[in-house]
Symmetry: C2
Subunit: 342 residues, 2 copies
DNA sequence: TTGTAAGCGTTATCAA
DNA sequence: TTGATAACGCTTACAA
């Protein structure tokens, strides 16, 4: 009352009403042990009564920490990232941190802008999975130079960059897939990958090539495509792959959206899976399990990755010096999930 | 230099170096028109040189606005919400707002805690889709009483609450599904729904019942289940439904996770779809389109809903008085997507 | 156990 | 066009 309608109550107001100092109110509210039980109680009751709410902006300013973690993902709606976010956010929530989730939509320009915004938003740390074509990382330099914990996960820098890196074992994923295909006895392999500017696709490709090389199998250039892995792009490439008589026995799709498209394409063309065509995907998206026939794919364990990121994050937040040992990249294992398309 | 290692540059530092006032620096940085082109340039260059970064906490405190929008969803990883978040976030990003995404994991307790956190984080507005069993809304009262824009979407309060509401036409969805089933000539209907404490399931149920009533069809109690719509729960209920000789001709599943489970269950049991059993789902999850046979379902247009939420949000943010007309609930149309299970 | 006072970095008001 | 000043609300070192 007294004050104008929408006026917010501050600790100063409470202090005035109670005839004590603002410092005492602050301490009482924060459960500072050096305050008497009696005043603590008086203060909390009055605060409630006056509709007081803590002001994070003020306390963040004063404390020089926001309790906010920034996150930049390519797209929230990708299965892998949705699961990752879920797990990460749940963990951070427990520790009193909030997550500021941003998406680059796979645009380098947006990613740069977001990095800037989160930088001046004073997030306590930043977690990033890079856009498809991000090839330099200057926009994260500010975080490094200010000692703000910076962790890349999944799609990480392909050039040396002194940040923490937690990634899937994409090389092994490519290798696993390659070996699995070789075991089936197939040698005519079509390959639809994301652009090689992106760490995950680069490494999956290297793993695959390694497997093929050992088996003395060559990838035919005309059956290799590197582009953003949308359903539309997949169909376009598949149409190009399956013209004429010389057709592959296998499609290795570097994500499950593409693998799903391949199954549908084959169905449309009357190509029998797995007899005439084998298909392997990547990510273990739920769709891969549900389509007929269910698709063999590589599981990336997104929740596990989130737990590792959270663990490292909290360590860095607790002890800035943990920051010093930009130790080995951390690598999360992948698993081959055998189903009916191979 | 001079200062200690990690010291941040503030506008005061820049002012000192340039021999001008902090106010001028602030204005120059903010492109205030009342500053000369020359100083603006000098300031910006020096700022860059000194590694200055804007401090949102300070400016938020001073301006009494954070440019942060809070969002509480049940789970980020649900398809509907993932798409919603993607669209909302992209739109808000354009307008210079950041999204603080939180998930209740369908727990009322967590939802309450999050509301409190976002409240004291001083978010400029809050967007909420309720947990499954949220039946009172006191934890949002603070937002109301402080005139902070509050919008519920999708899962909205079932009792009168003076906040903005933007929801799908769940009643119509239930009705549409019901009529569609009636057209197939089926009368023995099993119904697996979420709990009726949750607006969407309540209204879908009402819509369905309305359709059935008109056609003089009764729902058998033994074929009706109300629980959280996970795959596990779905299987449990399906097993109970399909015992003995008296079996339903239709399963209406109130989400696609359940519908997918029903298709898989039927497959396992050797029940032919749609000849012996028809199935209809809800949400138009991508899995519904991909499974064989693809599932008839109801599309909720999550991106459209996000656009409406963003539109209303931005209006409220621009003009607090728009807040006054807690006008009609806004209702986003739904669409029946006919596929092969009906 | 409590109070005093200063300061976090920015910006709006008023004056020059 | 620029400067001086105060204030946003909170916390902490220091003093009592």
């Amino acid at each position: 009352m007294g004050k104008s309608e929408n006026a917010e109550t501050s600790i100063v107001d409470i202090a005035a009403v109670l005839g004590i100092s603002a410092a005492t109110v602050s301490r009482a509210l924060n459960n500072n042990p050096r305050i008497s039980e009696a005043t603590r109680k008086r203060v909390k009751e009055k605060a409630l009564e006056m509709g007081y709410r803590h002001n994070s902006m003020a306390s963040s300013l004063r404390n020089k920490r926001s309790n906010i973690i920034g996150l930049i993902v390519p797209r929230v709606s990708m299965y892998f990232h949705a699961v990752f976010i879920t797990a990460l956010q749940n963990r951070l929530q427990e520790e009193g941190y909030s997550l500021m989730v941003c998406q680059s939509n796979d645009s380098v320009a947006i990613e740069q802008k977001l990095a800037g915004t989160l930088y001046s938003s004073r997030v306590d740390a930043l977690v990033v999975s890079l856009a498809l074509y991000t090839e330099d990382y200057n926009h994260f330099d500010g975080f490094m130079s200010h000692g703000i914990p910076l962790i890349f996960y999944d799609r990480v820098p392909t050039k040396p960059y002194p940040a923490h890196i937690i990634k899937g074992d994409d090389y092994r994923g490519g290798l696993l897939a390659g070996n699995h295909l070789i075991e089936t006895g197939c040698t005519k392999i079509a390959y639809i990958s994301g652009p090689l500017s992106c760490s995950i696709y680069k490494e999956r490709t290297e793993g695959l090539l390694h497997a093929l090389k050992k088996a003395k199998i060559n990838l035919k250039e005309k059956w290799c495509f590197y582009h953003e892995l949308t359903a539309e792009n997949a169909w376009n490439s598949l149409r190009k792959i399956f013209v004429g008589n010389d057709q592959p026995e296998v499609v290795f799709a570097s994500n499950d959206t593409t693998a799903v498209a391949a199954v549908e394409f084959a169905r449309e063309q009357g190509i029998k899976i797995p007899e005439e065509l084998k298909i392997i995907g990547y990510s273990n998206d739920p769709r891969a399990a549900i389509i007929s026939p269910p698709i063999t794919t590589i599981d990336q364990h997104p929740a596990e990755m989130a737990h590792r990121v959270a663990y490292k994050l909290l360590a860095l937040l607790k002890d800035k010096h943990a920051n010093r040992d930009i130790s080995q990249n951390e690598i999360v294992p992948v698993t081959l999930v055998r189903r009916m398309t191979t």
